[in-house]
Amino acid sequence: MTKASTASSHRDREHHLSLLKQMLRVRRFEEKCVELYSQQKIRGFLHLYIGEEAVCTGLMQAVSADDAMVATYREHGHALLRGIPMNAVLAEMYGKQEGCSGGRGGSMHLFDKATHFIGGNAIVGGGMPVAVGYALAAKLRKLKAISWCVFGEGAMAEGEFHESMNLAALWQLPVVFCCENNYYAMGTALDRSESETNLLKHAKSYRINAQSVDGMDVLATEAASHAAAKWVRAGKGPYFLEFQTYRFRAHSMFDPERYREKAEVHDREQHGPIKRYGEQLRELGILDDTGLNTLEAEIAQEIQNAVDFAEAGQLEPVASLSRFVYSEGAAS
């Protein structure tokens, strides 16, 4: 595990606490989502990120304002940490028009123009070519923006992974391919999905620089993301990051988890990213009960506000059903 800095300047302390808070914020938000799902406030598919928070938290530290992010259907964490207000995210899941996608997208399709958050894509692998194209635009326009492309290890078997990696490498585009390897694609374990389970070998077969990271260690994910961003911003072409992580919950709310042992999950939970990092910060004297309680209280308040906001949100009038098929004002 990467060592939290012991030379804890005030800024370091703040940063550590901020990382912890970000992870906690994602965790508590999703726990609330489960509750709201069972109350049928949220519907459709709901894919939880619980257990994987260190990945998006570390990642996001390297993301700049102009960068774009193309995520998957398991993107609550990315959306929140990228800066979409929790209110707007939750209202989206309520199907309210105040939602970040106007209630049209739901949990799998969080979008935000302001932060270049390009979804939320429910087709496995479907976002990859899009991320590559965004990077192509950035390169052609001579912008410094990076395109962050997030996907699971299961997506790597899709043809679109192959085609996208090749294009990005061939054209030396500013993409960071972020593989969240949680070892399962629904019920399919990595070794039933890939003939080569060393994922770096795939990246390297396209001549793409690649690194594997402990995705349960937020400092490691942060450092690796910075390194990748530096590489890409220097114009050296794409980068592939494998974050080795684990999902503690079912694939979606419909998954009875027949494909793995409870013990395996339990075991991994003992080394959960929030637990581990919290303990580390306590050892360093950066965190104590009071500090933690303060964080939790702030988060609880934010979540409560989001629930109130979503509850109070409006349903879009049915009369406007056919909006957003074509751009408004444009000839249809």
Partner: protein
């Protein structure tokens, strides 16, 4: 005959189990059909019963495993390929349309492709724009394919063996909303034809022509209309390619009025083909132009009230019939 209460899901599973028992060339292949138990639990328990060679989990690679189904069919097997949902079938569109549908023809009759592809279809669960397509009617445009849409327990049980016995590729579309549907099925239910429509409710005032989950909406509407003294006939197409013109026209000739209910988007949906055929074959016997009730032309939205508004519903069918009859 003895019947049992059973769900559509269970009937689908029984069909798979029987096929696997009866013919060792049959195997099931797709994403999470094995260890996970099937994305909709259709194949639950089959891995334990038939082993991993015959209940074969695939990586996420729709094009390759559909194409592998084609190859295995050519190699003497009788594969059942499951594409989790029709939405993902777009990744395999090339294999389905450029390969499965063409080999028999391009080879001058030498290489038929006895492949069955099952997929879930339809909307209604707030799964939004990328998980709610109803593209079965769209696939029905392609010569070389057969397209069936079992709406009843009997059909989901009986269409699979017939499809497997067919020498050519058959696509079976199972509407998501049907899996939990319960009903009675005779215990030794077996094969049914896959090329004829069926009149599910006799009537005289109007023909409701439909398929898949919309069948039940039509039946609900027909019952409501019956209360108003309007006697609607309900035709379940069952097969979208070929279309059973005979049954359709017989019904329309009787009622002289038709409402087609189709979960596909209106423009270019199968409803258009049926309307066109009715006009071509029974124009002078119609008392009014054919009415189409389809999904609104919008990617299906997440929000419940919008999704409901986007889809055909029993209430809308009732209104459409009333309007058509001028009551």
């Amino acid at each position: 005959m003895a019947t049992q209460e059973i769900t559509y899901r269970e009937a689908a599973r029984e069909a798979l189990r029987a096929a696997l028992h009866n013919d060792e060339r049959v195997f099931l292949m797709g994403e999470d059909v094995g260890r996970y138990g099937g994305p909709y639990a259709v194949s639950l328990g089959l891995l334990e019963e038939f082993g991993p060679d015959r209940i074969r989990d695939t990586p996420l690679s729709e094009s390759a495993f559909v194409g592998a189904g084609i190859g295995a069919a050519l190699g003497g097997m009788r594969p059942i390929v499951e594409i989790m949902t029709v939405n993902f079938s777009l990744l395999a569109a090339d294999q389905i349309i450029n390969t499965a549908a063409t080999y028999l023809h391009m080879s001058g009759g030498q290489f038929n492709v006895p492949l069955v592809i099952r997929m879930a279809t339809g909307a209604g669960f707030q799964l939004a724009a990328q998980h709610s397509h109803s593209l079965e009617g769209w696939y029905a445009h392609i010569p070389g394919l057969k397209i069936v849409t079992p709406a009843t327990l009997e059909d989901v049980r009986g269409m699979l063996p017939t499809a497997l016995a067919d020498p050519d590729p058959v696509l079976i579309f199972e509407h998501l909303a049907l899996y939990n549907r319960k009903g009675q099925l005779v215990e030794d239910a077996g094969p049914v034809d896959i090329d004829r429509a069926r009149v599910r409710r006799q009537g005289t005032a109007v023909s409701l022509i439909t398929y898949g989950n919309s069948l039940w909406k039509c039946i609900e509407a027909a019952e409501q209309l019956a209360g108003e003294g309007i006697d609607a006939e309900v035709v379940d197409l069952r097969s979208l390619r070929p279309l059973d013109d005979q049954t359709i026209m017989a019904s329309v000739r009787k009622t002289r009025r038709a409402v087609i209910v189709d979960e596909g988007w209106r423009s270019g949906s199968l409803s258009a083909e049926i309307a066109a055929r009715i006009h071509e074959q029974a124009f002078y016997e119609l008392d009014a132009p054919v009415v189409r009730l389809c999904s609104e032309e919008v990617p299906i939205p997440y929000a419940k009230h919008l999704e409901e508004a986007a889809l055909p519903q029993a209430e809308k069918i009732v209104r459409a019939v009333r309007e058509l009859l001028g009551t």
